[in-house]
């Protein structure tokens, strides 16, 4: 945090300010936010939530880490290349409607069935889920790419 403020142009930062506190808590909060993002994503079709919010929350979680640590450390912690995230997201978003062709229905008609799993009981399988997942990847990837670029990523 201190380093972030210093880079933001604040010459005088409180001496007592320590990064330890935020570095400790951010790792826990990161996990909680990530779980919440996953919950929001999976819940989308029946309760508030969707791919967009999920993606943004994932981005927020990683941004929290970026605030606490510097970019190289976060890169080591989460070795995901954001470009690949965006490409994967866009490919899924384009592939899902095209593959729906194979069911013989007009372009982009979603299909759904219900299957029975041992512990969970009756579960719905809907093609909107992979589509939303693609949206999630793209949104998260783009937000993180922009933040890391503007934040001075050396890559």
């Amino acid at each position: 945090m201190k380093s972030t403020l210093k880079r933001a142009g604040y010459g005088k930062v409180q001496r007592q300010m320590n990064d330890v506190f935020i570095q400790f808590t951010s790792r826990i909060i990161f996990l909680i936010v990530l779980l919440f993002a996953a919950k929001l994503f999976m819940d989308g079709h029946y309760a508030p939530g969707s791919g967009f919010v999920g993606g943004l929350l994932i981005a927020s979680a990683i941004i929290l880490l970026l605030m606490a640590f510097d970019f190289q450390t976060v890169r080591k912690m989460i070795p995901i290349n954001f470009h690949i995230m965006i490409s994967a997201g866009l490919s899924i978003v384009l592939l899902v409607p095209t593959l729906l062709f194979l069911f013989g229905k007009p372009f982009f008609t979603h299909q759904h069935t219900y299957i029975n799993l041992p512990i969970f009981g009756e579960v719905a399988l809907h093609t909107a889920v992979p589509f939303d997942f693609g949206v999630l990847l793209t949104v998260a990837g783009t937000s993180l790419l922009i933040v890391s670029l503007v934040g001075g990523q050396e890559d």
Partner: protein, 799 residues
């Protein structure tokens, strides 16, 4: 999804696979992998020939978006099948040739991907029944042709030629789309078959001439007819396999296909028939005249292609008369048969000639006829092939060009005798134009043979010439063999391929039972015309130096190329001037334009229509709403007054979170969640951006500047409030949410209406917005990297 849909999309799917393969396999020439695709498609199409010629056309549908009528309907009749076989068959030979022509150091991955995309697009054009899909594939052929012409993009001429071809063919394609829309307005359908069935509607409509002109613009630009032919000679900058494939055998024939396909719809119109006949004949003459003076091998072949396309176009024009003239039917049927036959023949001999030109270029290092000569002994196989194909082009027996040229001359003579329209007195011109054009065709064919192979060896060639390797020779040998075979045994083709195609053009079911014979009798004027052509042509060639001076008599300003170039330069200058006046480079100015116009527009609307605001329907305002509004107002006040950037950002964040609370109060949890998440991310972005902003300057803006900002801001705020209130007071339509509420569970199996709308009901919208998001990310990446690189360059210069 039928097998034929797979056949059409196979090249594109293969292109993706081939691009991946190219990354890993570098020692095998990529062409071998690409070869499988057109070969497989050609094999499949050959199996369809008996079905189509015996049972009639096949029809398959694939529903894409039935609600707006955009379906991928495939209609395989004789005409479509003929073209599809040409595309895939010649495609196979061209890919085989390119394996020998292009070395492994070229960007083979790009080349074969573009070529395969072109193959899909062209197959889509000729097999599609839906006019919108036809237009889509048509423009896709223009794009892939552009990419292929500019393949060696380091050369300026390639870029110039590619741009020229794109501009001209896009213009034509757009006009063609307009013609299709007019047809849709007249007939109410987007399917070509149904348009043919409803031809009475077209006959009665007074929009028909407009449709005729627009569709013909598309056909003439793509098939390089006068005056749009100027892109084809410049397209010769492409690698030779591309010239042999696109610019002689397939893509330029798309215009001919369009004319043939729409003949049943438009043939009643005299405008159609006359335009095509005259443009075709004039192109034949003009282009063959210009071909004789060309020095570049490919230049001669380019103009020759334009001229031969004019020939086929004029035959299709004559054939149009067969559709409704009734009495003299058999005469014009001959024209259609001749047209189809010449399409096949031209593909064989012109494709072979282009490949031969490529062989000569590859082996001697030059394409200039002046520098070539006396290669007869060194390249005997190439010489034999040139004799076969060039004499076929000139129209001599026993090659296939002779047969179709005879039919062409016969058709022109019949036209001069027939009495079919107001301008029938001028019809005596047709055989004259045809014969003169054929004379020049003969002259340049002889020039090709004599200038390159006969005579003395010039020693000006850059490389020491020798015969081409076997790989490059196979394809032209096959094509030359076809020239001979079709010349000697034309009836292999006549009942199997030519007749079904001619029948689809004429839209009849009666079998034609064509038989093409070599000898038409001594009375036939076409025979004497051919003899005259040979005699006069030889004379012209032998005494060529005495009359070729007329080629130098042309002023620079009167050429079409000059018109095109000047038009391009002046339109660019003009638009730059207009844009520079408005785009000052300051974001604030653009905002003033946009919002100022919005305010003015709002005031004018209010003035003319009034704002009926009715306060009865409004919901209750609770104490929590008032508190939130006060918080927002305090934050705004602090932002305006403070001098610290950090405080401004935090207050902006406060406003954002208050909005989220508002959404929560108005029972929109999805919106509230999204607003919270976005606010967090953008506040972070602002904080991080701080690093790059310059220090706050002491510069105070002028009072006028601040006053304008104030007026516009207040104006926009007031207008939005007033319009919002007015819109809420007068509900003209029922809310669309009713449909969503009723159907969200049955149709979409979901409970959360907002998400279901995003992903299912309006999923197409989300698809494109995600794409936009991704593009924005990539764009920002590119901008940031470019800026960083620019900075480094500056530092290096000063250091």
């Amino acid at each position: 999804m039928a097998l034929i849909h797979l056949a059409i999309f196979l090249p594109v799917i293969a292109a993706i696979l081939i691009a991946i393969v190219y990354r890993y396999v570098k020692d095998v020439h990529l062409g071998w992998f690409a070869l499988i695709v057109p070969a497989a498609i050609a094999a499949y199409l050959f199996t369809l020939i008996p079905t189509v010629s015996n049972d009639g056309p096949l029809h398959y549908t694939l529903n894409l978006m039935p609600r707006i009528g955009m379906n991928f309907d495939v209609y395989i009749d004789g005409l479509g099948l003929l073209f599809a076989i040409l595309i895939s068959g010649i495609g196979t030979l061209v890919v085989l040739y390119s394996i020998g022509y292009l070395s492994k150091s070229e960007r083979l991955g790009n080349f074969y991907v573009y070529l395969l995309i072109f193959m899909t697009a062209m197959l889509g054009v000729v097999l599609s029944d839906n006019v919108l899909m036809l237009y889509f594939f048509w423009e896709l052929t223009s794009i892939s042709s552009f990419l292929l012409i500019a393949f060696w993009y380091k050369k300026d001429k390639s870029i110039y030629g590619a741009q020229k071809s794109l501009l001209i063919t896009f213009f034509g394609g757009f006009m063609m789309l307009g013609g299709f829309i007019v047809l849709y307005i007249i007939t109410g359908t987007l399917s070509i078959r149904e348009m043919i069935a409803n031809v009475d509607l077209v006959i009665d409509s007074n929009l028909a001439p407009l449709a005729v002109v627009l569709v013909l613009l598309g056909a003439f630009t793509k098939s390089a007819q006068f005056p749009f032919y100027i892109w084809l000679p410049d397209a010769m900058e492409a690698p030779t396999p591309v010239s042999a494939y696109l610019h002689s055998a397939t893509m330029v024939k798309a215009g001919l296909y369009l004319v043939a396909r729409f003949t049943p719809v438009f043939a009643f119109s005299e405008l159609w028939v006359w335009l095509i006949l005259l443009v075709g004949l004039f192109t034949l003459l003009w282009a063959s005249f210009n071909a004789v003076k060309q020095d570049d091998l490919k230049g001669v072949l380019a103009f020759s292609t334009v001229s031969q396309l004019g020939l086929i176009m004029s035959l299709l024009g004559a054939g149009g008369l067969a559709v409704n003239s009734g009495a003299n039917e058999s005469i014009f049927t001959v024209a259609v048969v001749a047209a189809v036959f010449h399409i096949i023949n031209h593909a064989t001999f012109k494709g072979a000639l282009f490949m031969i030109a490529g062989i000569l270029d590859h082996e001697t290092g030059t394409r200039s006829i002046r520098k070539l000569g006396g290669l007869l002994t060194i390249m005997p196989i190439t010489f034999t092939m040139t004799i076969i194909t060039a004499l076929s082009m000139a129209g001599l027996p026993p090659f296939n060009g002779f047969l179709s040229k005879e039919l062409f001359l016969e058709a022109m003579f019949e036209l001069s005798n027939a009495n079919f329209s107001v301008l029938a007195d001028w019809s005596v011109l047709f055989p004259i134009l045809a014969i003169v054009g054929s004379i020049f065709t003969f002259v340049y064919s002889i020039k090709l043979i004599h200038g390159v192979f006969l005579g003395d060896r010039t020693h000006e060639t850059p490389k020491e010439p020798h015969e081409a390797p076997a790989l490059m020779l196979i394809s032209p040998i096959i094509l030359s063999a076809l020239v001979v075979i079709f010349g000697l045994f034309p009836n292999i083709l006549s009942q199997t391929i030519i007749d079904p195609a001619a029948m689809s053009i004429l839209a009849t079911d009666t079998q034609l039972n064509t038989e093409i014979s070599h000898w038409h009798g001594f009375n036939n004027p076409a025979l004497w015309a051919t003899i005259a052509i040979v005699v006069v042509g030889l004379a012209l060639y032998l005494f060529r130096h005495s009359w070729m001076f007329i080629y130098d008599y042309h002023k620079e300003q009167f050429t079409l190329n000059y018109l095109y170039d000047q038009g391009l330069i002046y339109s660019q200058l003009g638009s730059k001037k207009a844009t520079d006046g408005v785009m000052t480079g300051f974001l604030r100015d653009y905002m003033v334009y946009i919002f100022g116009f919005f305010v003015v527009f709002g005031i004018i609307t209010t003035f003319f229509t009034g704002l009926p605001i009715d306060f009865d329907n409004y919901s209750e305002i609770g104490i929590q709403d008032v508190v939130l509004v006060i918080i927002i107002l305090i934050s705004l006040f602090i932002i305006m007054m403070t001098r610290s950037r950090m405080v401004s950002i935090i207050m902006l964040g406060a406003i954002g979170y208050s909005m989220a609370l508002f959404f929560a109060f108005f029972r929109a949890p999805d919106l509230a969640l999204t607003q919270l998440a976005i606010e967090t991310v953008t506040t972070t972005l602002f904080l991080v951006c701080f690093y790059h902003l310059p220090k706050k300057s002491k510069h105070e803006e002028a009072v006028g500047f601040k006053f304008t900002n104030f007026m516009i801001s207040v104006g926009v705020g007031a207008i939005v409030i007033l319009f919002g209130l007015a819109a809420y007071s007068n509900r003209l339509f029922e809310s669309i949410s009713k449909y969503h509420i009723e159907n969200v569970y049955e149709l979409a199996a979901g409970g959360n209406m907002v998400n279901v709308i995003l992903v299912d009901f309006r999923g197409y919208d989300t698809l494109f917005e995600t794409l936009v998001f991704g593009i924005a990310g990539i764009g920002i990446y590119a901008l940031m990297k470019a800026k960083v690189k620019g900075k480094d360059d500056d530092n290096e210069e000063h250091a």
